[in-house]
Symmetry: C2
Subunit: 467 residues, 2 copies
């Protein structure tokens, strides 16, 4: 996942007029309790994660595997009994990784493990390393001072449950290469934004500002960043960075959507989902096959209830989240006239850790309903956390357009050991934690679909937390 | 390290005549207690490991870094105050790794993380996978049955404290490719002999029997072996294996030797050491910079004592252990006439875990002295384990020629998470465990050098445990 924002203050624009309180009927709460127990005993979510990561494997947006993933999702939605399954095209420029090498030159010659950042230029650079402790230090470097050098950003991301360390480190990857290039740098290396002590490097997108020359930009494993730091204590270090990667044409993928059609108000949807694309280094098990498996399974279990929910449950497998919420943005544009019908939305895109917290963007008239859902989630070990959270990344565009969101907070303590690196594989996913997630999404989505009243979705004012 | 043998029954050939009991004088025991405490408070071992892994990095036998490692060891011995420092040439064929790729073809196309086995042929193969659960199953395959196939050995090594799981799995790497080729296989893949759940594959030597066609042979990470196993449940799997590697000429490296000269019997030596070469995937921190750092530091601390020990302490940094104990064999040949003067020998080549056990090959007349040493080691948490152990790999040739050995058993529970893979790096080494190891080697070597009487070394009958 990308984190555009997390844990930020709410910027709500609730209607000022007195309004009917949203509430959830008792029979729905009783059904939800059963649904919760069924979900905990069900392994559909796990099987979907296994199938996607095994049969498709890595699925970089715009790669050959992207199309296979789309076909996989369509087939699974159909097999799982969704009432409607369709796709919506998503077009974007395709970036390819072909090879990546780095090595220290000279008296301490040795290879360094790197991975190219998405959006990096290809090319080969041999240059001296200039180390910066953080992004502010890079920004403070005088213009031209990096001419002919490789900038090395050596910032350590903090391990946290809520992923806040990622947001702090974000600009180093997203903007660092562009800033370095603007000061003359010929190449860019960074300590991976990640927490793994193993020999894996973390990729992710970077963007060059208009008019700035794209340069080769790569991340070192934490181990290799430590090594480079030690070598720099001995004196100047020259490195050869050779990346074969780059942009190559335009590609059209698909958002894949499955819907359980509501019995009373089918045009109103509770939207859940994850993203179908992954980075190419692992098999995208926690990022984000887990979100796909969890939300598909939740929709499936709701669809198998004796009676369909009042509103529709829409499960969206978004295209190309990794390179800039591309599928999400195109979804929000395409559905701009239906924001009020997106009753509430929640994405699972923070791995497969257990959910520990819940909140929504609900205005005052729907806070009681939010609390009712929180109470139905409490037996899963989930705490109501008012004032916290935000939509998952792929529902940021919808929430910015006025859509209400829910937050099912996953424990991300170990997420950045795996995120965007080669260790993001099936074996790191705990089937019991997946079942807990499926139960939480099923209960939330079902109850939101049964609620009498809304959660504040209205076209216009953004519901997204401030950046 | 390679394990030619471990934990096997002793095959002793003790003299039948009555003999003076070997014993250790009280003043030596008192000095050893001080030495032990000094060593625990000293970080020389850790600093050596840091220096070798940082400044030289990976040091594949026969590579450019091999020569730098030799120069490093000579310089460090001199700086550490060893009385004599010299080198002895070691010649061998050089094997090179240039690139390695594997991928599943067809409907489930995806890359597989592999590393070429040392001694593998280069080449590119596209073929169907035939899975074998263990080495016996491969051996049982009919002649010619693997024609045009890639054999896949899918055996899981057990995690154990003493490394016994490695010995069980050994033939899969050492002989598997040759056996597969002899049955017609065009390529060989194996589940790594290792225990890491991370995305690292474990290399190590393989050998093709005379008259057998060398084929490309590589190890998969455990994660990738799991993935291949799951894909095989869906039906036949075709894989492309492309290795650019192979033998390239002859190379002369050096055993590097530092000696603390004994005050009474300098021609008699207590030999300790490790191996200077490493595989190329990590920086060889646990295999075997640790052994080098531990034994160099132990020799250094003995050399700093107010009075030199009675006998000499010889620290040997062996060349090219990894490709077949090459330096060790050439050392034993060169010193064949001095086996009786090798009073006792112990190699540190099982990582940097704490030492938990001690034993020697001592015959009856030196068992009491062995027990005295064990008692001096006991405050370090080390237990006397009569009947167990063997020489480290590089002292197998000496012990086979009649040299006595000591065993300082390290906890290897986590060793095979790192052994021969990219994760074998400095950050995995615990400085406090290193100091405990240094203390143990210093105490052992000092007391053996002060012993009145011998430990059974005599040219001729092998002291090595049975294979």
């Amino acid at each position: 996942m990308r984190f555009a924002s997390l844990l930020l203050a709410l910027a709500l624009a609730a209607p000022a007029v007195a309004q009917q309180q949203t509430r959830i009927p008792d029979d729905a709460l009783a059904n939800a309790a059963q649904l919760r127990e069924q979900a905990l005993a069900d392994d559909t979510g796990w099987k979907l994660i296994e199938s996607l990561t095994t049969e498709i494997g890595p699925r970089l947006a715009g790669s050959e595997a992207d199309a296979r993933a789309v076909a996989w999702a369509e087939k699974k939605f159909a097999e799982l009994g969704f009432d409607r399954v369709w796709t919506e095209p998503v077009t974007f420029p395709a970036w390819q990784r072909r090879s990546e090498h780095a090595q220290v030159l000279g008296a301490n010659a040795q290879p360094l493990l790197v991975t190219a950042l998405g959006g990096s230029a290809g090319g080969e650079v041999e240059a001296e390393i200039v180390r910066f402790a953080d992004f502010a230090a890079l920004e403070a470097a005088p213009e031209g001072s990096l001419a002919g050098k490789i900038a090395f950003l050596d910032y350590r991301m903090a391990r946290t449950r809520d992923g806040s360390g990622y947001g702090d480190a974000g600009p180093i990857r997203g903007r660092g290469p562009s800033v370095a290039s603007s000061k003359g740098a010929a190449g860019y290396l960074m300590r991976s934004i990640g927490t793994s002590p193993h020999r894996v490097a973390n990729t992710g997108m970077t963007r060059f500002a208009d008019g700035v020359e794209p340069i080769p930009a790569a991340a070192l494993s934490l181990v290799d960043a430590d090594q480079l730091g030690r070598l720099l204590e001995h004196g100047p270090v020259r490195v050869r960075l050779a990346l074969d990667c780059g942009w190559d044409g335009e590609y059209t993928s698909q958002n894949v959507i499955g819907e359980i059609t509501g019995r009373e108000s089918p045009e109103q949807v509770v939207a859940i989902g994850g993203h179908l694309d992954s980075w190419d280094l692992g098999t995208g098990a926690v990022d984000d096959a887990s979100g796909i498996g969890i939300t598909m399974a939740a929709g499936h279990l709701i669809g198998r209830l004796p009676r369909k929910p009042k509103r529709s449950i829409r499960v969206i497998a978004f295209a190309n989240e990794e390179q800039g919420l591309i599928g999400a943005r195109q979804y929000a544009e395409r559905h701009a006239d239906e924001i009020a019908e997106h009753v509430i939305a929640a994405e699972s895109d923070f791995g497969a850790g257990r959910i520990y917290g819940f909140n929504t963007s609900a205005p005052d008239h729907a806070k009681a309903a939010t609390r009712q859902i929180a109470e139905a989630l409490a037996p899963l070990g989930i705490e109501y956390m008012p004032g916290e959270g935000g939509p998952g990344p792929d529902f940021i565009p919808v929430s910015q357009a006025g859509g209400a969101w829910a937050w099912l907070a996953q424990d991300g303590t170990e997420y950045f050991d795996l995120h965007h690196n080669a260790d993001d594989t099936l074996d790191k996913v705990d089937p019991e934690a997946v079942a807990q997630n499926v139960a939480a999404y099923a209960v939330f989505a079902y109850l939101a679909a049964e609620a009498e009243g809304d959660f504040g979705s209205a076209a216009g004012a953004s519901q997204a937390p401030a950046e």
